[in-house]
Symmetry: C2
Subunit: 470 residues, 2 copies
């Protein structure tokens, strides 16, 4: 199948412009479903979000179904849909689950009551948990498909859709599901919409991702909470043990200290580093939105390099003893931390989990025990530069935004990219329209109306551009 | 006034034995009042506990009142009561407030529904928050006074009583209250019942106490919670900053690293250390009740020495990032820790607070700020060996328990001991009947029925013994 005539694409783009208010309405309906995958109390809401997508895809003429997953908890269902058509076959991936909303009190409106607000700069943004990550981004693709169907009755390429519900909770069902259904899900290329633009004006395709290895560490000492006066000094303090361990994970240069941690890690070529430095010349400008000024990580790398192509270690949560108002002179029995390592291509999550646990065990003093709980792991990823689909997609993005699209790295983990390669042998093109200030995972998460609308138009163009890839 | 005849004391002791069930009933009534001083929601309960004591003291013929305190929050009232009589004038101190009850789920029965249970060893114990610390202990003294009044219509010495409601929350109203009411509260000696026996069989008077300096540390970095993938490595992580700081507070020998921390700290004389080692020859036996085996603190000192006469640093609470079920890839904006330093005589809480805060500030990296919240401070304390009241009290205890009473240190802070010396110029005799396994400040706090009953009998003897101190 060859690319449709330019006039055919123009008609679709015009329809997207005319239908934009309805598109926002559909997204708001979806955002009202509190599909928090990591909290068991929201399991039914996750199913409701899956069912919402199944119905919407069916309304677009897809053969659409939800599928149970059986390999591990929490077991939120997959949504699988197939459209008709010939030629290039794309498999679109997204996720319908969202992050928890704490701290609730920092939300200006309830997290699941979406608001369309105008920010200080006069930009219209959609505010809700999941507005950007990933419900808003997924809907840019579905709205593009809807426009093609409503204008021409068909899509320029053959489209299959796979939506999961465990992306935000380190779920481990996606890979076995892909493997068990490889024949059904096999396509020519995978399209993922879960990433950001280079900046407000510059579209990009993310060609490398950091993976992640996450572990929970529980340190236990006394058999019960003790009085810190009666026992203080003589009784092992699990909070102190935990802090002593966590303080050894990085050295004074910001490098992770685990043996072999950097084995296989490659530094990007000079051309790539030069391009990134041209796009992001100023660390403090890049960190300003976060209220920060200095790249705090590995010395010798810019903020963009530290997040796009260098592995790291973060403490994501810590808890122990008395955390309430006032003061309690307790010497607690246990303390807990949630730790994650961001990984780049070449690093092995399983080996790094072993190295981390061995490091912690080696530092345990007498009377302290440790229990580990794994929270998922995925390797880093990079698109093979040879992918025939990369250039047409970059060009289509450039046409929509009026500036050349760039290839980028991404600090976040999108396990699917590595897993579709492992299970289906396919490259994933990560095309996203999020912005650095979308506050994903934070209170008042937002998605620009421009991201949503021009993102939809971008997908309409990309679908056309991929039609004649040989 | 001279000591009453032995027969007079015997009659009182017999009455205590006969009335013991009623005494337990009165204590249970008191234990049902959830007077948690550090939680604002329980302010009314603290007042209710104060009022309960005012009424009980009035029923013993004391001129009894509750007094507002005005110097600082939370402002729980004092209970002041004066009995009639001549000669030796004792001021008894205790506190009616209790610790929080978290974690609730570890209590076998609700914390404020007192239970009389028989433990595995066949010992009868009273289980409830405050059973030992300090409601049960205070009632041993009041029941002794009740017995003297009911048998003889008067007490062998002149007794005043002062009960406060901010001992468990680092309150700062006691000292100014003592100073403002010094003329009214002046006596010959202060009696305090808030300490433990040397062991099950051996009574003791605590002649030295550790003080405490408590501070809350809040580290803030980003202006809001960040996605740890997008920002991990480049953004300062306040949990990591906090752990790095807390890990530097003690060295590998368990010594506190703050400059000048040990200035003025004296090691007990060899005789005292020998007596303690005879009483507690085995660290592991001493720590067994806590489920521990090794003295984890300052090298070169036994577990008893580490807690009774050596200063220390404890982390009492820590909190930051995502602490719930599952995993959240958040790079949080802030992290908090509650830290306390146990102090011995010779150390200055104010100087140590300054040294601690300077130490934390010196370790702060770029993009991190710190906020400190003080939670009270009191110096260590020791009874001047010359106190004329010490020997008679030790002898009275020996008579009741059938073994010589010993002088002890105590790892806990009882600010009143230092404050009555400062405000009233009086020594405090700390006579207590708690046991190491009372689980004070922990779930299932308990007080032995033997501690309660023989403690009451002990006070009846001490009141008689102090009558003829010149």
């Amino acid at each position: 199948m060859t690319a449709p005539a330019p006039s055919a694409l123009d008609a679709v783009l015009n329809h997207i412009d005319a239908d934009s208010e309805n598109a926002v309405g559909r997204l708001f309906e979806l955002l009202r479903i509190p599909s928090i995958s990591t909290q068991p109390a929201h399991a039914a809401d996750c199913r409701a979000a899956a069912e919402w997508f199944r119905k919407d895809l069916a309304s677009l003429g897809f053969s659409s179904s939800t599928r149970e997953v059986k390999w591990a908890a929490p077991g939120h269902p997959m949504v699988v849909a197939h459209g008709e058509g010939e030629g290039t076959h794309v498999l679109f991936y997204g996720h319908y689950d969202v992050q928890p909303t704490d701290p609730e009190n920092l939300w200006r409106a309830p997290a699941f009551e979406p608001q369309l607000v105008t920010d200080a700069s006069g930009r219209k943004v959609i505010v809700a948990r999941g507005a950007s990550d990933d419900k808003g981004q997924v809907m840019t693709f579905l709205e593009a498909c809807r426009a093609w169907k409503e204008v021409h009755g068909s899509l320029p390429v053959r489209v299959s859709v796979l939506l999961e519900g465990e992306e935000e909770c380190g779920g481990s069902n996606l890979l076995p599901f892909l493997k068990e259904n490889a024949a059904e899900l096999k396509a020519d290329v995978v399209l993922v919409c879960d990433t950001a633009m280079a900046d407000r004006r510059t579209p990009g395709i993310t060609t490398s991702l950091r993976g992640m290895m996450a572990d929970e560490v529980l340190i236990e000492c006394a058999s019960h909470d003790l009085h810190s006066g009666v026992y203080g000094n003589a009784a092992a303090n699990p909070i102190a043990v935990l802090c002593n361990v966590l303080a050894t994970l990085r050295d004074s240069d910001g490098r992770v200290t685990l043996p072999g941690f950097y084995d296989g890690v490659k530094v990007p070529d000079d051309a790539t580093r030069a391009q990134w430095r041209e796009l992001f010349p100023d660390d403090s400008a890049l960190l300003e939105e976060a209220g920060l000024s200095i790249a705090a990580g590995e010395k010798g790398f810019t903020a963009v390099e530290q997040t796009w192509c260098r592995p790291s270690c973060e403490i994501n949560g810590i808890s122990g003893g008395y955390e309430g108002e006032g003061f309690k002179t307790v010497l607690p029995a246990k303390a807990m931390a949630k730790v994650s390592f961001r990984l780049v291509p070449g690093q092995n999550p399983d080996l790094i989990r072993e190295a981390f646990r061995a490091h912690v065990r080696a530092l345990l003093p007498a009377d302290a025990t440790v229990t580990f709980t794994p929270h998922g792991g995925s390797p880093g990823f990079e698109v093979s530069n040879g992918s025939a689909y990369l250039s047409p997609a970059l060009n289509a993005l450039g046409d929509e935004w009026g500036v050349p699209a760039v290839t980028m790295g991404c600090g976040g983990s999108i396990p699917v990219a590595g897993e579709v390669r492992e299970a289906l042998g396919l490259d994933a093109l990560m095309v996203g329209f999020a912005q650095a200030d979308d506050r994903i995972h934070s209170p008042n998460e937002q998605y620009g109306l421009d991201s949503f609308h021009k993102g939809t138009r971008s997908w309409a163009r990309i679908l056309a551009a991929l039609a004649d890839v040989k």
